[in-house]
Amino acid sequence: MRVAMPIEGQSLESAICQSFGRSPYYLFYDTEESFGDYKENSAPASLGGAGIKAAQLILDEKADVLLTPRCGENAAQVLREGGVRIYKTEGDSVRSNLEAFKAGRLEELREIQPGRHDHRG
Protein backbone atom coordinates (compact mmCIF):
# COMPACT_ATOMS: atom_id res chain seq x y z
CA MET A 1 0.00 0.00 0.00
CA ARG A 2 1.24 3.47 -0.90
CA VAL A 3 0.71 6.03 1.87
CA ALA A 4 0.97 9.80 1.27
CA MET A 5 1.67 12.44 3.94
CA PRO A 6 2.30 16.22 3.81
CA ILE A 7 5.71 16.82 5.44
CA GLU A 8 8.03 19.72 6.17
CA GLY A 9 11.28 18.10 4.93
CA GLN A 10 12.66 15.15 3.01
CA SER A 11 13.17 12.65 5.82
CA LEU A 12 11.12 10.40 8.07
CA GLU A 13 12.31 12.60 10.96
CA SER A 14 10.61 15.69 9.44
CA ALA A 15 7.42 16.99 11.01
CA ILE A 16 4.04 16.49 9.40
CA CYS A 17 2.95 19.73 7.72
CA GLN A 18 -0.22 21.22 9.21
CA SER A 19 -1.43 22.35 5.79
CA PHE A 20 -2.22 19.74 3.16
CA GLY A 21 -2.33 21.87 0.00
CA ARG A 22 0.57 24.16 0.80
CA SER A 23 2.90 21.56 2.31
CA PRO A 24 6.47 21.90 0.98
CA TYR A 25 6.89 18.12 0.39
CA TYR A 26 4.94 14.89 0.33
CA LEU A 27 6.16 11.54 1.55
CA PHE A 28 5.01 8.52 -0.46
CA TYR A 29 5.65 5.48 1.69
CA ASP A 30 5.34 1.91 0.46
CA THR A 31 4.24 -0.19 3.45
CA GLU A 32 5.22 -3.53 1.83
CA GLU A 33 8.73 -2.38 0.90
CA SER A 34 9.12 -0.12 3.99
CA PHE A 35 10.52 2.52 1.66
CA GLY A 36 9.65 6.17 1.25
CA ASP A 37 10.25 8.65 -1.54
CA TYR A 38 9.68 12.40 -1.50
CA LYS A 39 8.13 14.81 -3.96
CA GLU A 40 8.38 18.56 -3.85
CA ASN A 41 5.00 20.33 -3.97
CA SER A 42 4.66 23.06 -6.59
CA ALA A 43 1.17 24.01 -5.39
CA PRO A 44 2.16 26.63 -2.74
CA ALA A 45 3.04 29.10 -5.51
CA SER A 46 -0.45 28.74 -7.03
CA LEU A 47 -2.71 31.74 -7.46
CA GLY A 48 -5.53 29.59 -6.12
CA GLY A 49 -6.71 26.03 -5.88
CA ALA A 50 -3.49 24.81 -4.23
CA GLY A 51 -5.39 21.96 -2.59
CA ILE A 52 -6.67 20.74 -5.96
CA LYS A 53 -3.19 20.78 -7.45
CA ALA A 54 -1.76 18.96 -4.44
CA ALA A 55 -4.54 16.38 -4.60
CA GLN A 56 -3.74 15.90 -8.30
CA LEU A 57 -0.15 15.05 -7.33
CA ILE A 58 -1.36 12.50 -4.75
CA LEU A 59 -3.53 10.83 -7.44
CA ASP A 60 -0.74 10.92 -10.04
CA GLU A 61 1.64 9.28 -7.56
CA LYS A 62 -0.93 6.50 -7.22
CA ALA A 63 -1.23 6.76 -3.43
CA ASP A 64 -3.92 4.57 -1.86
CA VAL A 65 -4.34 6.60 1.30
CA LEU A 66 -3.48 10.08 2.58
CA LEU A 67 -2.58 10.76 6.22
CA THR A 68 -3.08 14.45 7.00
CA PRO A 69 -4.07 16.72 9.90
CA ARG A 70 -6.44 18.74 7.70
CA CYS A 71 -7.85 18.78 4.22
CA GLY A 72 -9.96 21.30 2.29
CA GLU A 73 -13.25 20.63 0.58
CA ASN A 74 -12.01 20.81 -3.03
CA ALA A 75 -8.96 18.65 -2.39
CA ALA A 76 -11.09 16.09 -0.54
CA GLN A 77 -13.45 15.87 -3.54
CA VAL A 78 -10.57 15.19 -5.93
CA LEU A 79 -9.01 12.62 -3.58
CA ARG A 80 -12.23 10.76 -2.83
CA GLU A 81 -13.36 10.66 -6.45
CA GLY A 82 -9.88 9.39 -7.28
CA GLY A 83 -10.32 6.58 -4.75
CA VAL A 84 -7.88 7.86 -2.09
CA ARG A 85 -8.99 7.33 1.51
CA ILE A 86 -8.10 10.14 3.95
CA TYR A 87 -7.03 9.50 7.57
CA LYS A 88 -6.41 12.02 10.33
CA THR A 89 -2.90 12.18 11.78
CA GLU A 90 -2.20 12.54 15.51
CA GLY A 91 0.75 14.69 16.60
CA ASP A 92 3.47 15.62 14.13
CA SER A 93 5.70 12.52 14.04
CA VAL A 94 5.82 10.82 10.65
CA ARG A 95 7.08 7.52 12.06
CA SER A 96 4.49 7.17 14.83
CA ASN A 97 1.65 8.00 12.42
CA LEU A 98 2.89 5.39 9.93
CA GLU A 99 2.96 2.85 12.78
CA ALA A 100 -0.47 3.90 14.00
CA PHE A 101 -1.88 3.62 10.47
CA LYS A 102 -0.39 0.14 9.94
CA ALA A 103 -1.85 -0.94 13.27
CA GLY A 104 -5.28 0.39 12.21
CA ARG A 105 -5.33 3.02 14.94
CA LEU A 106 -5.92 6.14 12.77
CA GLU A 107 -9.45 7.32 12.12
CA GLU A 108 -10.78 8.57 8.81
CA LEU A 109 -10.71 12.37 8.53
CA ARG A 110 -14.21 13.67 9.10
CA GLU A 111 -13.90 17.44 9.40
CA ILE A 112 -13.22 18.91 5.98
CA GLN A 113 -12.39 22.62 5.85
CA PRO A 114 -15.03 24.44 3.83
CA GLY A 115 -14.55 26.82 0.95
CA ARG A 116 -11.53 28.39 -0.58
CA HIS A 117 -8.73 30.17 1.22
CA ASP A 118 -7.66 32.52 -1.54
CA HIS A 119 -8.00 36.28 -1.58
CA ARG A 120 -11.36 37.57 -2.61
CA GLY A 121 -11.83 40.01 -5.41
Binding site: L47, G49, I52, K53, N74, V78, G82, R116, G121
Partner: protein
Protein backbone atom coordinates in the same frame (compact mmCIF):
# COMPACT_ATOMS: atom_id res chain seq x y z
CA UNK B 1 -17.23 63.41 -15.13
CA UNK B 2 -16.83 60.20 -13.15
CA UNK B 3 -16.18 60.46 -9.41
CA UNK B 4 -15.14 57.38 -7.44
CA UNK B 5 -15.84 57.50 -3.71
CA UNK B 6 -13.64 55.15 -1.75
CA UNK B 7 -12.10 54.42 1.63
CA UNK B 8 -9.77 51.74 2.84
CA UNK B 9 -12.27 50.26 5.26
CA UNK B 10 -15.99 49.81 5.54
CA UNK B 11 -18.18 52.10 7.63
CA UNK B 12 -16.33 55.36 7.00
CA UNK B 13 -19.10 56.95 4.93
CA UNK B 14 -18.60 56.04 1.25
CA UNK B 15 -22.30 55.48 0.73
CA UNK B 16 -23.23 58.64 2.66
CA UNK B 17 -20.94 60.77 0.48
CA UNK B 18 -21.67 59.14 -2.90
CA UNK B 19 -25.44 59.02 -2.40
CA UNK B 20 -25.59 62.63 -1.27
CA UNK B 21 -23.28 63.91 -4.01
CA UNK B 22 -25.55 62.25 -6.60
CA UNK B 23 -28.63 63.65 -4.84
CA UNK B 24 -27.13 67.15 -4.75
CA UNK B 25 -26.24 66.90 -8.44
CA UNK B 26 -29.79 65.93 -9.39
CA UNK B 27 -29.52 64.82 -13.00
CA UNK B 28 -26.79 62.24 -12.38
CA UNK B 29 -25.95 58.56 -12.10
CA UNK B 30 -25.24 56.72 -8.85
CA UNK B 31 -23.44 53.39 -9.34
CA UNK B 32 -23.19 50.99 -6.42
CA UNK B 33 -20.07 48.90 -7.04
CA UNK B 34 -19.99 47.51 -3.50
CA UNK B 35 -21.44 44.33 -5.01
CA UNK B 36 -21.06 42.17 -1.92
CA UNK B 37 -23.17 44.53 0.18
CA UNK B 38 -24.83 47.18 -2.02
CA UNK B 39 -26.83 49.55 0.15
CA UNK B 40 -27.23 52.83 -1.79
CA UNK B 41 -30.54 51.50 -3.10
CA UNK B 42 -31.89 51.53 0.47
CA UNK B 43 -31.51 55.33 0.45
CA UNK B 44 -32.69 56.00 -3.10
CA UNK B 45 -35.51 53.43 -3.17
CA UNK B 46 -35.38 53.54 -6.99
CA UNK B 47 -38.51 53.14 -9.06
CA UNK B 48 -39.13 51.50 -12.44
CA UNK B 49 -36.63 48.82 -11.52
CA UNK B 50 -35.23 46.64 -14.23
CA UNK B 51 -33.04 43.67 -13.36
CA UNK B 52 -30.72 41.75 -15.60
CA UNK B 53 -28.41 38.84 -15.00
CA UNK B 54 -24.60 38.88 -15.19
CA UNK B 55 -22.85 35.69 -16.12
CA UNK B 56 -19.33 34.52 -16.88
CA UNK B 57 -18.15 31.80 -19.28
CA UNK B 58 -16.87 28.61 -17.66
CA UNK B 59 -15.65 25.44 -19.37
CA UNK B 60 -17.69 22.29 -19.83
CA UNK B 61 -16.21 19.05 -21.08
CA UNK B 62 -17.45 16.54 -23.62
CA UNK B 63 -16.23 13.31 -21.98
CA UNK B 64 -16.43 11.43 -25.30
CA UNK B 65 -13.90 13.78 -26.88
CA UNK B 66 -11.58 14.22 -23.86
CA UNK B 67 -8.52 11.96 -24.10
CA UNK B 68 -7.00 12.93 -20.75
CA UNK B 69 -3.99 14.70 -22.26
CA UNK B 70 -4.15 17.19 -19.36
CA UNK B 71 -3.08 20.24 -21.39
CA UNK B 72 -5.91 22.17 -19.71
CA UNK B 73 -5.00 20.90 -16.21
CA UNK B 74 -1.39 22.03 -16.62
CA UNK B 75 -2.43 25.37 -18.13
CA UNK B 76 -4.92 26.60 -15.51
CA UNK B 77 -3.16 28.94 -13.09
CA UNK B 78 -6.09 28.72 -10.68
CA UNK B 79 -6.18 24.90 -10.67
CA UNK B 80 -9.84 24.90 -11.63
CA UNK B 81 -9.36 21.63 -13.56
CA UNK B 82 -8.17 18.23 -12.31
CA UNK B 83 -7.77 14.83 -13.92
CA UNK B 84 -9.45 12.45 -11.50
CA UNK B 85 -9.13 8.77 -12.25
CA UNK B 86 -10.35 8.71 -15.82
CA UNK B 87 -12.27 11.94 -16.21
CA UNK B 88 -11.86 15.71 -16.14
CA UNK B 89 -13.25 17.47 -13.07
CA UNK B 90 -14.05 21.18 -13.33
CA UNK B 91 -14.27 23.57 -10.37
CA UNK B 92 -16.38 26.31 -11.95
CA UNK B 93 -16.24 28.55 -8.90
CA UNK B 94 -12.43 28.76 -9.13
CA UNK B 95 -12.49 29.57 -12.87
CA UNK B 96 -11.46 33.12 -13.81
CA UNK B 97 -13.02 32.84 -17.27
CA UNK B 98 -9.82 33.41 -19.23
CA UNK B 99 -10.95 30.88 -21.86
CA UNK B 100 -7.45 29.42 -22.22
CA UNK B 101 -8.44 25.81 -21.58
CA UNK B 102 -10.96 25.67 -24.40
CA UNK B 103 -8.55 27.41 -26.79
CA UNK B 104 -5.73 24.99 -25.97
CA UNK B 105 -7.71 21.71 -25.92
CA UNK B 106 -6.32 19.74 -28.89
CA UNK B 107 -9.48 17.58 -29.09
CA UNK B 108 -12.03 20.40 -29.00
CA UNK B 109 -13.51 18.70 -25.94
CA UNK B 110 -13.92 21.91 -23.94
CA UNK B 111 -16.56 24.50 -24.74
CA UNK B 112 -17.79 27.43 -22.69
CA UNK B 113 -21.14 27.76 -20.99
CA UNK B 114 -22.52 30.77 -19.15
CA UNK B 115 -22.76 30.69 -15.37
CA UNK B 116 -24.72 33.39 -13.54
CA UNK B 117 -22.73 35.17 -10.80
CA UNK B 118 -25.07 38.04 -9.99
CA UNK B 119 -27.29 40.76 -11.38
CA UNK B 120 -27.66 44.45 -12.04
CA UNK B 121 -30.64 46.49 -10.94
CA UNK B 122 -31.37 49.76 -12.69
CA UNK B 123 -33.97 52.33 -11.65
CA UNK B 124 -34.43 56.01 -10.95
CA UNK B 125 -35.05 58.23 -7.95
CA UNK B 126 -35.87 61.97 -8.29
CA UNK B 127 -33.78 62.36 -11.42
CA UNK B 128 -30.89 60.20 -10.22
CA UNK B 129 -30.31 57.06 -12.24
CA UNK B 130 -29.50 54.32 -9.72
CA UNK B 131 -27.45 51.32 -10.84
CA UNK B 132 -26.79 48.54 -8.35
CA UNK B 133 -24.46 45.56 -8.80
CA UNK B 134 -25.35 42.47 -6.79
CA UNK B 135 -22.97 39.53 -6.49
CA UNK B 136 -24.44 36.14 -5.62
CA UNK B 137 -23.29 34.87 -2.20
CA UNK B 138 -20.26 32.58 -2.35
CA UNK B 139 -18.89 33.95 -5.62
CA UNK B 140 -15.17 34.75 -5.63
CA UNK B 141 -15.05 37.85 -7.82
CA UNK B 142 -17.46 40.69 -8.52
CA UNK B 143 -15.25 42.24 -11.21
CA UNK B 144 -17.42 41.00 -14.13
CA UNK B 145 -20.39 42.78 -12.50
CA UNK B 146 -18.42 46.04 -12.25
CA UNK B 147 -17.52 45.74 -15.93
CA UNK B 148 -21.18 45.26 -16.84
CA UNK B 149 -22.20 48.24 -14.68
CA UNK B 150 -19.74 50.50 -16.49
CA UNK B 151 -21.17 49.54 -19.89
CA UNK B 152 -24.34 51.36 -18.79
CA UNK B 153 -22.60 54.72 -18.32
CA UNK B 154 -23.05 57.52 -20.83
CA UNK B 155 -20.69 60.45 -21.15
CA UNK B 156 -23.19 63.27 -20.70
CA UNK B 157 -24.12 62.85 -17.02
CA UNK B 158 -22.03 63.17 -13.84
CA UNK B 159 -21.41 59.72 -12.36
CA UNK B 160 -20.84 58.94 -8.68
CA UNK B 161 -19.35 55.55 -7.99
CA UNK B 162 -19.77 53.95 -4.57
CA UNK B 163 -16.68 51.72 -4.42
CA UNK B 164 -16.20 48.44 -2.56
CA UNK B 165 -14.19 48.75 0.67
CA UNK B 166 -10.50 47.90 0.80
CA UNK B 167 -7.84 48.25 -1.87
CA UNK B 168 -7.96 44.88 -3.68
CA UNK B 169 -8.39 44.10 -7.40
CA UNK B 170 -12.09 44.95 -7.42
CA UNK B 171 -11.36 48.46 -6.08
CA UNK B 172 -8.70 48.98 -8.77
CA UNK B 173 -11.19 47.90 -11.43
CA UNK B 174 -13.73 50.37 -10.05
CA UNK B 175 -11.28 53.27 -9.80
CA UNK B 176 -9.88 52.65 -13.29
CA UNK B 177 -12.74 54.57 -14.99
CA UNK B 178 -12.72 57.52 -12.57
CA UNK B 179 -11.61 61.06 -13.40
CA UNK B 180 -11.29 61.92 -9.72
CA UNK B 181 -11.29 60.02 -6.42
CA UNK B 182 -12.94 61.17 -3.21
CA UNK B 183 -11.34 59.44 -0.22
CA UNK B 184 -13.59 59.32 2.82
CA UNK B 185 -11.72 59.14 6.11
CA UNK B 186 -12.80 58.71 9.70
CA UNK B 187 -10.85 60.13 12.63
CA UNK B 188 -9.30 56.92 13.95
CA UNK B 189 -5.79 55.47 13.78
CA UNK B 190 -7.19 52.37 12.07
CA UNK B 191 -8.98 54.61 9.59
CA UNK B 192 -5.75 56.46 8.81
CA UNK B 193 -3.95 53.20 8.02
CA UNK B 194 -6.62 52.28 5.49
CA UNK B 195 -6.79 55.81 4.11
CA UNK B 196 -3.04 55.52 3.45
CA UNK B 197 -3.61 52.33 1.46
CA UNK B 198 -6.28 53.77 -0.84
CA UNK B 199 -4.39 57.02 -1.26
CA UNK B 200 -1.36 55.01 -2.42
CA UNK B 201 -3.64 53.07 -4.78
CA UNK B 202 -4.94 56.27 -6.42
CA UNK B 203 -1.35 57.46 -6.85
CA UNK B 204 -0.26 54.18 -8.48
CA UNK B 205 -3.23 54.44 -10.85
CA UNK B 206 -2.43 58.11 -11.56
CA UNK B 207 -5.82 59.38 -10.33
CA UNK B 208 -6.15 62.80 -8.67
CA UNK B 209 -7.76 62.59 -5.25
CA UNK B 210 -8.93 64.59 -2.26
CA UNK B 211 -10.10 63.66 1.21
CA UNK B 212 -13.45 64.20 2.90
CA UNK B 213 -13.01 64.06 6.67
CA UNK B 214 -16.10 62.37 8.03
CA UNK B 215 -17.34 62.14 11.63
CA UNK B 216 -15.10 65.02 12.68
CA UNK B 217 -14.99 65.97 16.37
CA UNK B 218 -13.53 68.94 18.25
CA UNK B 219 -10.39 67.02 19.22
CA UNK B 220 -7.33 66.26 17.08
CA UNK B 221 -8.05 64.26 13.95
CA UNK B 222 -5.35 61.72 12.99
CA UNK B 223 -6.73 61.59 9.42
CA UNK B 224 -6.31 65.36 9.09
CA UNK B 225 -2.76 65.13 10.42
CA UNK B 226 -2.02 62.43 7.83
CA UNK B 227 -3.38 64.59 4.99
CA UNK B 228 -1.25 67.55 6.11
CA UNK B 229 1.85 65.39 6.37
CA UNK B 230 1.35 63.90 2.89
CA UNK B 231 0.04 67.08 1.27
CA UNK B 232 -3.33 65.54 0.33
CA UNK B 233 -6.03 68.17 -0.31
CA UNK B 234 -8.88 68.16 2.21
CA UNK B 235 -11.97 68.94 0.15
CA UNK B 236 -14.70 68.59 2.75
CA UNK B 237 -15.63 67.97 6.36
CA UNK B 238 -18.72 66.31 7.79
CA UNK B 239 -19.11 66.68 11.55
CA UNK B 240 -20.21 63.89 13.80
CA UNK B 241 -23.82 64.83 14.47
CA UNK B 242 -26.79 63.01 15.85
CA UNK B 243 -29.14 64.53 13.26
CA UNK B 244 -27.13 63.12 10.35
CA UNK B 245 -26.72 59.76 12.09
CA UNK B 246 -30.46 59.56 12.60
CA UNK B 247 -31.27 60.41 8.95
CA UNK B 248 -28.79 57.78 7.86
CA UNK B 249 -30.13 55.14 10.20
CA UNK B 250 -33.58 55.68 8.69
CA UNK B 251 -32.10 55.35 5.19
CA UNK B 252 -33.10 58.89 4.25
CA UNK B 253 -31.04 61.00 1.85
CA UNK B 254 -29.70 63.84 4.04
CA UNK B 255 -29.31 66.27 1.12
CA UNK B 256 -33.03 65.88 0.36
CA UNK B 257 -34.18 66.09 3.97
CA UNK B 258 -32.41 69.08 5.53
CA UNK B 259 -31.23 72.41 4.14
CA UNK B 260 -27.95 72.31 6.05
CA UNK B 261 -27.00 69.00 4.47
CA UNK B 262 -28.19 70.09 1.03
CA UNK B 263 -25.81 73.03 1.38
CA UNK B 264 -22.99 70.88 2.73
CA UNK B 265 -23.16 68.38 -0.15
CA UNK B 266 -23.82 71.04 -2.83
CA UNK B 267 -20.69 72.81 -1.63
CA UNK B 268 -18.75 69.52 -1.72
CA UNK B 269 -20.13 68.81 -5.21
CA UNK B 270 -18.87 72.18 -6.48
CA UNK B 271 -15.44 71.51 -5.00
CA UNK B 272 -15.29 67.97 -6.44
CA UNK B 273 -16.41 69.22 -9.87
CA UNK B 274 -13.74 71.89 -9.82
CA UNK B 275 -11.03 69.43 -8.73
CA UNK B 276 -12.13 66.85 -11.32
CA UNK B 277 -11.83 69.39 -14.12
CA UNK B 278 -8.31 70.07 -12.92
Amino acid sequence: MKIAVLSGKGGTGKTLVSVNLAAAAGDSVYVDCDVEEPNGRLFFKPENLKTWSVSVPVPQVDPDKCTGCRVCVEFCKYNALAWVGDRLKIFSDLCHSCGGCSILCPEGALTEEEREIGRIEGGSSRGVKVLTGVLNPGEASGIPIIQELFKELKENQPVFIDCPPGSACIVMETVSVADYCVLVAEPTVFGVHNLGMVWELTRVLGKPSGVVLNKTLAEDNPAEAFCREKGIPIIGRISFEQELGLLNSEARVAAWEADKYRELFSHLLRRVTKEAKG
